[in-house]
């Protein structure tokens, strides 16, 4: 498998997230324990000295306790499966009594007036309580599957890169036995908490929510104390730790981290976490809190631990989480066009969005008319699908909410896996479209099979995307295609010989602003280890936050050198480039290489980006007015918006490079020369 950016192994990830757990850590436990209880009292200026028992020993490494992990995981799995059953349907039990197998389970389902073919839970979260047990065939098989997966992960011990969604699925909730009294819990590098405004715990990344009720109340006390003073707490900094707060109506989200990520990134992550919750429940959850401020939300989220832990995991490997853009699987232009065409046919029959994805990468995406799909919604949706095992085993029809599209209402997602990594998602507003969408899927599947798209997808996945070693050295040479390079072969024995790209280039990310897409190069050997990749992503995050500072940004260019990297960032109206080099890289050469990267991306943009079938509506009108684009660049350029020369402030605007009156061409040439003299080019 090509060095996938998502290939962080479970063990390494956890190692880094828990800061050196020594069993005999010399911490004054009592003083800290006293303090936790005392905090709330201090807030009202009354100190209290009630010691909490220190019962929980520092937990051992994850892999040393496989049995408990599996037990724990499988029970969660069944809870999750039940939840899924309440909204989806096992393929083995599909029949005429399609939704009726829920009746025994779903005590609190609101009856649907439409009868047997109605949606399982169009009423939303109320229909998703899966607290009673129900023997289903899917349950049993998944337990077996999980045992097997878990076993392999232990044996491999991270040597073989695991699929992040698989990894997460196996892991689910980590260290559920911990609570705020455990030293190991306190030493975790990154905590996430969700609680209600009355202080009830809703979710915690580590530890058992119920045991964390006291801690949760403390967080609530801090937030409301500041709120009572007419202000709103955003951030608390203490040494290497940051505590970031986000208030969303009756729901409070808190991150406690010592990962050196900037405030803006952590806040963005809390926003995504909230979005993931809304995707499952919609914002009408607020109404429950209006009715009853002590409302307990945890049962509604029963079994969704894996969804959240997978999202949190993606914060450290998926640049989409901070770039707010999505990425495509590299495919030959015609292959993607074929996929787009069939999805377009389907979309014309009343499907809101049709999305074909492979892991976290988009193969094709089609939206109805001008409906636009926000990249964050795509991230949350694909995370939801990939982290829920039951989607893999059956075709499903599930109510979901796209928070950026409409946070108050459910859409309905028909999800079906076409192969191990490739899945089709059809979104509709109709709760009764299951059979229609099923037909659509059959149609799509048939076309894809006939046109060999799925094989191409598999090939692309194994070959990987842009490799910095392949960066054309000769600036005049137009490489044209990623798929004509003769040496694009998967390393047969897994040995990587590359030492990075020319001039010490290690990695780059290119984000096209108008397409809302990014492309990230494959990792070269200087950053082949997941630890190194995570560190690089965090450096990118800091760079991104610094470039897009709300007060003074966006900046235009940044060069940053520390002991780890040389980082170069270039932000224009059309695109953003983030590049990492060897820390000893020469500034001038690095700039030239960045230029070449931009050119390379432009040369192959119709293979790495989804053009034409953009989910955002803003592009279509712009392009039609310009007939100057080369056909090979696809139907829609990566730049847009310039209607006249006066508008054109950027030398990467493709519109004005040809077919101009002589004087204008001269002007442009002059402008280009001037631009070239001050930066890049």
């Amino acid at each position: 498998m090509a060095s996938d950016s998502s290939s962080a192994s479970s063990s390494s990830d956890e190692d880094e997230e828990s800061a050196g757990q020594k069993p005999n850590v010399d911490v004054n436990i009592n003083s800290i324990d006293n303090s936790l209880d005392a905090i709330e009292n201090q807030l009202s200026s009354i100190a209290l000295n009630t010691p909490i028992d220190e019962r929980t020993l520092p937990s051992t490494d994850y892999h040393q306790e496989p049995v408990s992990e599996i037990d724990d995981g499988s029970s969660r799995e069944s809870a999750s499966e039940m939840r899924r059953n309440s909204i989806g349907e096992s393929s083995s039990s599909r029949g005429s009594g399609l939704w009726r197998n829920n009746l025994g389970v779903e005590v609190e389902v609101e009856p649907e007036a439409d009868g047997e073919l109605s949606s399982p839970s169009s009423s939303g979260y109320a229909g998703e309580r899966g607290s009673s047990s129900s023997p289903t065939s899917a349950c049993g098989t998944d337990v077996i599957r999980e045992l097997r997966d878990n076993g392999s992960s232990i044996g491999d011990d991270g040597a073989v890169p695991l699929d992040p969604s698989q990894t997460q699925w196996i892991r689910g909730k980590q260290h559920a036995d911990e609570d705020d009294g455990s030293i190991s819990w306190r030493k975790r590098k990154k905590h996430f908490f969700v609680l209600s405004h009355s202080g009830k715990p809703i979710y915690s990344r580590y530890g058992d929510e119920h045991k964390l009720a006291g801690f949760s109340a403390t967080l609530q006390a801090i937030i409301s104390f500041v709120e009572n003073g007419g202000d709103r707490v955003k951030l608390v900094r203490a040494g290497k730790h940051q505590v970031v707060f986000l208030v969303k109506g009756p729901i409070y989200l808190v991150c406690i981290s010592c990962t050196e990520e900037p405030y803006e990134s952590l806040r963005g992550q809390l926003e995504l976490l909230y979005g993931q919750m809304i995707l499952i429940l919609t914002r009408s959850i607020d109404k429950c809190f209006e009715k009853n401020s002590k409302f307990d939300m945890t049962p509604l989220l029963g079994g969704t631990d894996a969804v959240f832990s997978s999202l949190i995991h993606s914060f450290s490997w998926n640049p989409a989480t901070f770039l707010h853009a999505y990425t495509c699987l590299p495919l030959a232009y015609t292959t993607r066009q074929t996929a787009c065409a069939i999805l377009q046919d389907v979309a014309d029959t009343g499907v809101l969005f049709a999305i074909l994805m492979c892991k976290n990468k988009v193969i094709s995406l089609v939206g109805l008319q001008k409906a636009s799909l926000h990249p964050d919604d795509m991230l949350l949706l694909s995370n939801f699908v990939m982290s829920s095992e039951s989607f893999r085993t059956s075709e499903s029809f599930s109510p979901i909410c796209l928070p950026r599209y409409n946070s108050m209402a459910f859409l309905y997602a028909y999800v079906h896996y076409l192969d191990v990594d490739t899945y089709l998602t059809l979104l509709t507003t109709s709760s009764q479209a299951f059979f229609h969408l099923k037909e659509c899927r059959i149609q799509i599947e048939a076309v894809l099979a006939k046109s060999n798209v799925l094989n191409e997808v598999e090939r692309s996945l194994s070959e990987g995307g842009m490799r910095i070693e392949d960066l054309p050295v000769d600036p005049s040479a137009n490489s044209g295609s990623l798929f004509h390079l003769t040496h694009r072969k998967t390393p047969t024995n897994g040995t990587v010989t590359g030492v990075g790209g020319p001039a010490g280039l290690w990695h780059f990310i290119y984000r096209s602003i108008y397409l809302d897409q990014y492309v990230s190069s494959e990792f070269a050997s200087p950053i082949s280890h997941p630890h190194q990749q995570k560190r690089l992503y965090r450096a990118y995050q800091r760079l991104y936050a610094s470039m897009h500072d709300k007060g003074v940004g966006p900046h235009k260019t940044q060069f940053r050198r520390d002991e780890n990297y040389v980082l170069l960032c270039w932000v224009t109206q059309d695109f953003e480039l983030y590049a990492a080099f060897d820390p000893l890289a020469d500034k001038g050469v690095a700039i030239r290489i960045c230029n070449r990267v931009c050119q390379w991306v432009k040369d192959v943009e119709n293979e790495i980006f989804l053009l034409g079938a953009t989910p955002f509506s803003c592009l279509l009108e712009v392009v039609v007015t310009n007939q100057i684009l080369k056909p090979s660049r696809g139907t829609i350029p990566s730049s847009g918006g310039c209607q006249t020369l006066a508008d054109c402030h950027d030398h990467h605007c493709l519109y004005h490079q040809t077919s101009l009156p002589p004087s204008a061409a001269q002007w442009l040439q002059k402008k280009k020369q001037r631009l070239a003299s001050w930066f890049f080019l």
């Binding site: 911490v27 004054n28 800290i32 303090s35 936790l36 005392a38 905090i39 709330e40 201090q42 807030l43 009202s44 200026s45 009354i46 100190a47 705020d180 306190r186 403390t218 006390a221 801090i222 104390f225 500041v226 003073g229 007419g230 202000d231 709103r232 707490v233 955003k234 951030l235 608390v236 900094r237 203490a238 040494g239 290497k240 730790h241 505590v243 010592c258 050196e260 405030y263 610094s546 500072d549 007060g551 003074v552 940004g553 966006p554 900046h555 235009k556 260019t557 940044q558 060069f559 940053r560 050198r561 520390d562 002991e563 500034k587 001038g588 700039i591 001037r674 003299s677 001050w678 930066f679």
Partner: protein
């Protein structure tokens, strides 16, 4: 003009400032015992306690995860709360309102350096807070000292009825550092000879001397920390610039106000009055005598002969109590510190010392002053054309910057950008705390307004530069830094 209540309440919305002791008032009903200082003092106690309660709560909370470094800052939508643990369990917390329109945009470390300066100056004149508390456990002594001292200090930031704390416009300044005068070789020899003469004046008392020209340090025999403290005192109360501009209406205004505030503050304490409070930061209290020595009655007046008592202060490292004796000739200020213990005959010994200085060193002083004045390039002496810069040598506590008049020519955007970059470097430094001081860092940003905003940090030295010349390449900017580094920093920031 008195400090009317309106004048107090208006700044109070923009600034709250408290000092509290976590070891005190741990029992219900005794919470007020914690408070050692609170500004504004007329804020109702429940409000004061709520500020301290939140601070204390978060100190405790953050220690759960970060036992080695508790809460440093709370950023809320409308306020920043800046924390500084001045002494074990004694915390200073400053709460400042944010306001983009009034340019209330802060850099946390700049605000923290204000807290640090207050504390180190306080220690220099009054000794540590803990020692004061131990001396008089009721706390009244400590409270009265802190109150008068900090009110006098804050007065420097009072403009009209508003506190103007260091904001983004002060990004190219570094509080708590010393600014040096660059002297030629010949002048250096003269200065050296003067230092020798001063030494012999003090005889075998093992005293120290500090020489300033204008507001710049020429020579010191003190440790860096003590030099920094004395330097910031001298440049705010003793130098010719301060003495000539002093006696403005502000001091009488505040003195009256302080009296009013002090009487109110008495109710905070346990009713212990009658401490004789020395107010070293009181404005307009220093003047130049006929003999050239600077005099003040801050430390009181000797009973009978009306001769002011010689000021005393504490050295930070040795904790020795020293007499402070300052002499001024034109732009030159000479400060002598003589151990109290070695002056057996007290004030008499000081007069003898003064006499000796006039007899043995005055010729040298005149000569040095002339020499330095001749070589002195005026207030824009350290301006470098095209550059707006700040150079900080953290190891030696020294900084040099573009003259303030030149920095004001920068656009607001550039200043905000360099403020942000400094914040960034502050964060990087706190991340690497302890384990690698010589963290190399280079940040070059081309801001929205096309200005280049640059930070370099290497081996304890930091350089910040703003280049507002548009349309230059990154390579050009780097070259400009290289040139600057070679010419003015002995190549400290050069790449090879």
């Amino acid at each position: 003009m008195g400090l009317s209540s309106a004048a107090i309440t208006t700044p109070s919305e923009a600034l709250k400032f408290c000092i509290f002791d976590l070891r005190r008032g741990q029992h219900e009903g005794e919470e007020l015992e914690k408070i050692l200082f609170f500004f504004p003092a007329d804020l109702p106690f429940p409000t004061q306690l709520s500020v301290i309660g939140l601070s204390e709560g978060l100190i405790t909370f953050t220690r759960i995860f970060s036992p080695e470094a508790a809460c440093e800052v709370i950023e809320a939508e409308l306020h920043s709360h800046v924390f500084f643990e001045a002494e074990p369990d004694i915390w200073m917390v400053m709460v400042v309102a944010k306001n983009k329109e009034t340019e209330a945009i802060w850099r946390i470390e700049a605000l923290r350096s204000v807290l640090k300066e207050i504390h180190s100056l306080f220690i220099m004149f009054h000794g540590s807070i803990r020692v004061l508390l131990d001396k008089e456990p009721g706390g009244g002594l400590t409270r009265s000292h802190l109150f008068t001292f900090i009110m006098d200090y804050l007065n420097d930031f009072l403009m009209g009825n508003k506190f103007v704390l260091p904001n983004f416009r002060d990004s190219l300044k570094q509080r708590g550092t010393v600014q040096m005068l660059t002297v030629g070789r010949e002048a250096a020899i003269e200065v050296q000879s003067l230092v020798g003469a001063l030494d012999s004046c003090m005889g075998n008392t093992s005293g120290y001397s500090v020489i300033l020209f204008q507001d710049l340090l020429v020579s010191t025999t003190l440790t860096p920390d003590d030099t920094t403290n004395l330097f910031s005192y001298a440049t705010s109360r003793l130098t010719p610039r301060v003495l000539s501009s002093g006696r403005s209406s502000t001091w009488s205004y505040l003195r009256k106000g302080n009296a009013e505030l002090a009487s109110r503050s008495a109710s905070i304490g346990s009713g212990l009055d009658g401490f004789r409070i020395v107010r070293p930061l009181q404005h307009g209290k220093w003047s130049k005598g006929k003999d050239g020595f600077l005099v003040t009655d801050i430390w009181g007046v000797e009973v009978g002969n009306l001769v002011p008592t010689t000021p005393t202060l504490w050295l930070q490292q040795t904790e020795h109590k020293m007499y402070l004796c300052a002499y001024q000739h034109k732009s030159l200020t000479i400060i002598l510190l003589i151990p109290v213990t070695s002056m057996l005959n007290g004030e008499e010994g000081i007069s003898m010392l003064k006499q000796q200085l006039l007899e043995n060193a005055s010729a040298k002083i005149v000569k040095v002053e002339e020499k330095l004045a001749k070589g002195w390039g005026g207030e824009n002496a350290y301006h470098v054309k095209g550059y707006r810069y700040l150079l900080v040598d953290g190891d030696r506590n020294i900084s040099r910057a573009s003259p303030p008049g030149k920095v004001t020519t920068l656009t607001k955007e550039s200043l905000l950008a360099i403020n942000k970059v400094r914040e960034d470097v502050d964060l990087e430094k706190s991340r690497g705390n302890g384990n690698n001081d010589d963290k190399d860092l280079e940040i070059c940003i081309r801001a929205k307004n096309n200005a280049w905003v640059i930070a370099r940090s290497t081996r304890g030295k930091e350089l910040y530069i703003v280049l507002e010349k548009a349309n230059e390449t990154l390579l050009y900017a780097s070259e400009a830094i290289e040139k600057f580094s070679d010419r003015y920093c002995n190549g400290a920031f050069s790449l090879d």
